[in-house]
């Protein structure tokens, strides 16, 4: 049974440390190291090479990197963490969509409301999906009972997309009891989701 080391989203040198720990515990098993950036991949490869560990295979699938290897001998103890710090700050992966009003753009409200509904209903048909959708200010109105966007949002939630709805905003508009989809959250959750993402799209 191969050992899986999922180091996706971890900042350097964490993937190297995780790999090292797994290698120390391993006893001849095959290892699969999963990484989300090319920089962490290169770092782990460099570490394996420096440790004299042979690499069986490297694969890339949909932006995720897989390194297949096997521990063949005892690791040397002279691995220094500071040698595997990345040059750029990388935090996590995934896109967050920040929806801060119940329509798209300015101009005509009817058009804007139809556009936001079309936008949300289209996401589910795309081959790429965001990780998180955050709703704030009048954007929260898209998540309550009766909103045309709710069935589409429920569909996204079922797929595993996180839907965060600002509780302060729901209570401001007096619609907290009408929430139909998503998780009531606060500024901490929402700002953290945005800062952790590799990309934030504001609607």
């Amino acid at each position: 049974m191969p050992i899986e080391i999922d180091a996706r989203g971890l900042p350097c040198p964490q993937p190297v440390i995780k790999t090292k720990e797994a290698l120390e515990k391993a006893n001849g098993e095959e290892l699969t190291i999963i990484l989300s950036t090319s920089e962490s991949r290169d770092n782990v490869l460099r570490f394996l090479k420096n440790s004299g560990i042979e690499i069986d295979k490297i694969e890339e699938k949909n932006g995720v990197f897989y390194i297949f290897t096997k521990k063949t001998h005892k690791l040397s103890n002279n691995v220094k963490q500071e040698d595997y710090v990345c040059s750029t700050t990388q935090i996590t992966f995934g896109t967050t969509i920040f929806i801060n009003k119940d329509r798209i753009g300015h101009g005509n409200d009817e058009l804007g409301k139809n556009l936001i509904k079309a936008f949300i209903s289209t996401i589910k048909d795309l081959s790429v999906q965001p990780r998180t959708l955050c709703f704030m200010n009048s954007g929260v109105k898209l998540t309550i009972n009766g909103a045309e966007t709710v069935p589409h949002l429920k569909n996204l939630e079922e797929k595993g997309i996180e839907i965060l709805v600002c509780g302060t905003c729901l209570s401001f508009y007096n619609i907290k009891d009408k929430l139909a989809v998503g998780k009531i959250s606060n500024m901490y959750d929402i700002s953290e989701a945005m800062l952790k993402s590799s990309k934030v799209i504001t609607i």
């Binding site: 949909n62 058009l111 139809n114 079309a118 289209t122």
Partner: protein, 86 residues
């Protein structure tokens, strides 16, 4: 498998007008972006059940809503689509 009628329009005003009138007459419709397989001058179209096609045509005729085309659209909505997180 569900069968729908996709009604396309020459401009957005007609698409939004159709939405309002379908609602007024109690006809279940959905205003959605025109699916990629059909092209239209307007980005919005009406999606209705294929069995409601004739009623929709009548409503549009009566209320002077000019449409571009009506397409038959079959969709297997239960089929899971593959996707990746970005």
């Amino acid at each position: 498998m569900n069968t729908y009628a996709i009604i396309t329009f020459h401009n957005t005003h007609f698409a939004l007008k159709a939405k309002k009138y379908f609602e007024k007459y109690g006809l279940k419709s959905d205003t959605i972006p025109v699916p990629r397989e059909f092209s239209s001058e307007c980005g919005f179209c009406s999606k209705i059940l294929w069995k409601d096609k004739n009623i929709a045509e009548e409503i549009m005729k009566k209320n002077k809503i000019i449409y571009e085309s009506i397409y038959r659209w079959e969709r297997d909505e239960k089929k899971e689509k593959k996707f990746n997180f970005v």
